[in-house]
């Protein structure tokens, strides 16, 4: 392509190529036809045709989360853009870098209520990190490159570029990335060294310390996870991870206490409650983590490392905030730790570890797999046992199965775990798995799903089939919206209002209509065979794993309770029934 005279659509494709984009998830429509025409005339960038725009964004999220690259979406104006809104919000909440190109009616029709017109930048303003409406083709090259820079720098997030059709057809010269001035958005990456030194001193003096790591470590890149593990090992301190942080420290690490939070482990939550120094690394003190705020780690001094200044002191006041990229800050911290030759209080730590061992001995994740009915925990345990020897990527939907996956599937590496944490989007897992599989065609990709979530985006089975993406859908089918049912059981007098689904599809036949393989298991004795068969098939599979309908997800911090007020199982009743304040919490 000559750089002298390109159409807007060609500039878009050229900018994508220059940004190293390999694949775009999209769905055509009137307003983006010029861009699709440009797609047709090139071979460099692959296009995956989804079945609904929401699927495109989740697929791009899965792609981005599993590779660390920016995920790219292309949708048309109006309904194309509005369908993308859930995915954009999901990406914003979980800090996933996404570029979403949306078609728009030609500039002279904007504001006229034209066919398939909507105020895309208005609608997406609160659910993107930034957005652009390109009204002049002369701005297009700059906006394209700036958008990628914004999406991936600092705290990553989704960026929308709204592209009127006439702008895509107008011609101008292309400006390459190197000639664009990106200086106006340069988030701080290096942490303040004085604060790092003060933090190291505080960490070294701890008697009951804990590392509390989150998704920011994953976003900072695989190097950050290595440094995190190195620092955890160096200190010998216990470490817990949030839902979004799983994999940042290997689950097999002896200092790892499991996930914390509402369905976190007994040892992780109690250690958080009792600690005297908390080192929050790329985590954001979300309400699922803290439980009742006024009882959150009441005796702890808190250090908080985060790239986003607005995460600091948002929910919990901290003693030492360090703003910077996790990898940079941890690198400096380790250097300071080594050079000052700190000597942690061995006696106190020994006592702390023996307290933790006591909590661990409760074995809070135990469950009773007796009888023929498959316990959902057991299904995930077996899935883990039978897939742990290969490099497996797991996505999930949202609900009980998601929490069980987080509890029983053990992640050794970052970027292997894709879940909708902040927004809690049912229907995330299937399209996300699709995106992961596109990025890693030879790897095992499993969507651990619930039957209700699965139905929310199952149109994407058609996409999976078209590209023969060997995604494995591992559906824990309990015929209920399990988490809704659990809350109704615990908080609403077992009045199971609208949480049971009649007329579910026959998942085996469903698989067959899409040209996939369908499997079903109802007896625990056949579970292993099903899993082995599923992973041995080099094609997409839907596995209908029919599990105990009444099983609840434990341990659990009831709404409005503190970390040390966990329910361990169905026989464990809270001392105080859930407070009125707790009832209003989600």
């Amino acid at each position: 392509m000559s750089t002298s005279n390109l159409t807007g659509a060609e500039i878009i494709l050229k900018a994508l190529a220059d940004q190293g984009v390999e694949v775009v998830f999209g769905y055509p429509g009137g307003a983006v036809l010029p861009i699709y025409d440009a797609f047709f005339q090139q071979n460099q960038i692959k296009h995956i045709l989804v079945r609904q725009e929401g699927g495109a964004v989740h697929a791009a999220e899965g792609y981005a989360r599993s590779t660390g690259k920016v995920g790219v979406v292309l949708v048309t104006s109006g309904p194309g853009a509005t369908n993308a809104v859930t995915g954009l919000t999901d990406a914003l909440m979980d800090s996933i870098p996404i570029i979403c190109l949306t078609g728009q009616v030609p500039t002279h029709l904007i504001g006229n209520d034209a066919f398939q017109e909507c105020d895309t930048t208005g609608i997406t303003r609160p659910c993107t990190k930034h957005n652009y409406l390109v009204k002049d083709v002369e701005d297009l090259s700059r906006v394209m490159h700036e958008a990628f820079h914004v999406a991936r720098s600092g705290r990553p997030g989704p960026v929308v570029i709204d592209l009127p059709k006439d702008v895509c057809m107008a011609e101008t010269t292309y400006t390459p990335m190197e000639k664009i001035n990106l200086s106006k958005y340069q988030p701080r990456v290096k942490g303040d060294l004085d604060k790092i030194k003060a933090a190291v001193e505080m960490i070294a003096s701890a008697k009951k310390p804990i590392f509390y790591g989150g998704g920011g470590i994953i976003n900072s890149g695989p190097g950050a996870s290595q440094l995190m593990t190195e620092f955890v090992n160096l200190t010998g301190y216990p470490c817990t991870l949030t839902l979004m942080g799983l994999g940042a420290v290997p689950a097999s690490n002896k200092q790892f206490l499991g996930m914390l939070g509402m369905h976190g482990t007994y040892e992780a939550n109690n250690a958080m409650h009792d600690c005297d120094v908390m080192i929050a690394v790329g985590s954001r003190f979300d309400d699922r983590i803290t439980g009742r705020l006024d009882a959150f780690a009441p005796n702890a001094k808190k250090i908080h490392i985060d790239i986003d200044p607005s995460s600091i002191n948002k929910n919990v006041k901290v003693d030492i905030p360090i703003i910077g990229d996790i990898a940079h800050v941890l690198e400096d911290m380790i250097k300071v730790w080594k050079s000052t030759q700190v000597k942690p209080d061995a006696a106190a730590l020994k006592q702390w570890w023996s307290q933790i061992a006591e909590w661990r001995s409760i074995d809070c994740l135990k469950y009773d797999q007796s009888g023929d009915i498959i316990k959902p925990q057991h299904a995930i345990q077996r899935l883990y046992d039978l897939t742990k020897d290969q490099d497996t990527y797991i996505t999930t939907e949202v609900g009980q199965h998601q929490m069980w996956a987080a509890q029983y599937y053990r992640f050794e590496k970052p970027n292997r775990w894709m879940t909708s944490g902040g927004l809690g989007t049912m229907g995330y897992g299937l399209p996300s798995a699709m995106g992961v599989q596109v990025a890693h065609p030879d790897k095992l990709v499993v969507d651990i799903s619930g039957e209700a979530s699965f139905l929310m985006n199952m149109q994407e089975l058609s996409t999976i089939s078209q590209y023969n993406l060997p995604v494995k859908c591992f559906i824990l089918n309990n015929f209920y919206m399990g988490m809704v049912r659990q809350w109704q059981e615990l908080l609403h007098g077992k009045r199971y209002s609208e949480s049971y689904m009649e007329s579910l599809p026959d998942f085996v036949k469903l698989a067959e209509t899409f040209g996939m393989v369908g499997l079903r298991v109802t007896s625990v004795d056949d579970l292993d065979d099903l899993i082995k068969e599923m992973i041995s098939i080099d094609r997409p599979v839907i596995a209908d794993v029919q599990v105990d309908q009444k099983e609840n997800c434990y341990p659990m911090i009831p709404s409005g309770a503190a970390h040390n007020e966990m329910l361990l199982g169905p026989d464990d009743k809270a001392d105080n029934p859930v407070s009125e304040e707790g009832m209003v919490l989600v």
Binding site: T121, G122, R125, P126, K129, H130, N131, L133, V150, G154, R155, K184, Y185, L293, D294, D308, P309, S310, I312, N313, K314, K317
Partner: protein
Amino acid sequence: MNKDEPINSHTMSVLVDNEPGVLARVVGLFSGRGYNIESLTVAEVSDENNLSRITIVTSGTEMIIEQIKAQLGRLVPIHRVSDLTLEGPHVDRELALVKVGCTGDQRVESLRIADIFRARVVDSTNESFVFEIVGDTGKLDAFIDLMRPLGLKDISRTGVAAIARGTASL
């Protein structure tokens, strides 16, 4: 978090790119996150760099004010956020146009008060005046209160513009 923390009013100056939608971003941030806007003004201040200056008067606990600044700071078109209330002495001014409908003694009284407040008459009919008054918010409030019994008809206020005292610039 202590629920009894004091709520204070803060005046912030925000330097932004003068581009479409930037004000919507700021206003949307405040409404979306439940912050107060007591006053908001915006105008271009640098043609060559294409910059506008927004002055916001808001209120909240210390933690909320800190959040507001951090949230504003991470909007891409925002260059600088300055909390004038915290950063030392500053001047804040507002302009109001105040219409008073009155005749006879009340006309004389309204002119007398306007003189005390150094308000100027910018329009006059046999039954009305429009006064222009400049000052801080408290002064304008006081003037308006005094005009109320004299036949206050209409008020248009610009909202607060503020700037730091001394040599410091945004």
